[in-house]
Symmetry: C2
Subunit: 154 residues, 2 copies
Amino acid sequence: MRLTKSVIAAVIGLAVVSGSLAYADSMTDAIKYRKSMMEVTGYNFKLMAAMVKKEMPFDKAQFAKMAETVHYMSTLTADGFPKGSDEMAGPTHAKDDVWSKPEEFKKDMVAFQKSSEALVVAAKTGDMSVIGPKFKDTAGSCKKCHDGFRSKSE
Amino acid sequence: MRLTKSVIAAVIGLAVVSGSLAYADSMTDAIKYRKSMMEVTGYNFKLMAAMVKKEMPFDKAQFAKMAETVHYMSTLTADGFPKGSDEMAGPTHAKDDVWSKPEEFKKDMVAFQKSSEALVVAAKTGDMSVIGPKFKDTAGSCKKCHDGFRSKSE
């Protein structure tokens, strides 16, 4: 999580350099950023789910790319939650626990990175009996974090 | 662009399998998807710009990761423009030229991929005199496509 800390430090650094108005802007930007990352993740996830459920034809190369994209996003997600980007900064589903329980939040972020990394490896086999369980694990890691750190209302 | 075509074909395939209502949904989803990708790209771009302009301290590792993210997004961007995801499907800045001039649009997408790839290579040097021009080229490739294919109103 070194890079994440670095990015967060930089965002705060930018805010300090540019003044308090810029700080408010950067926190609002961070909220938009994480929502966009969730959207990119979700779009790819939805299409993978359709393939897993046989609602659309399985395409090995496409599935592999989507798994890779979800994993790539997992390495960025924590960057979207700098301290200060809470409900005071704009409409957000993020609970205050994101910042008051940073170790637990970090644990869920790492679980997402690991589960999606395993999905990338599984996707390369092109074998749905291998992919299925890893897809389920990844979905589970999304759900765990959403259950713990995402409120239903903004 | 093989993968892009594959993804677009799959999205359309999903729509055909699931019926016309799902088709409309998938086109609306595609619009949201591309907007999110632009947002993710833009966020990283903005922070890189702040470093290039010395508005925030240059951090080699962070800059390199942001360049990598922008390049990664460049490999996905075209997936957000399946045929049918035009203004009939939802509010969008995308001009009809995206679909009526596919070769020109593809050319701009490839230019974005190439310029951002060069930025990734430059970022590894940590030398702003090398990075600056490649950052400018990447910004130029964004602008060229926006000027040609993005209308100012939705």
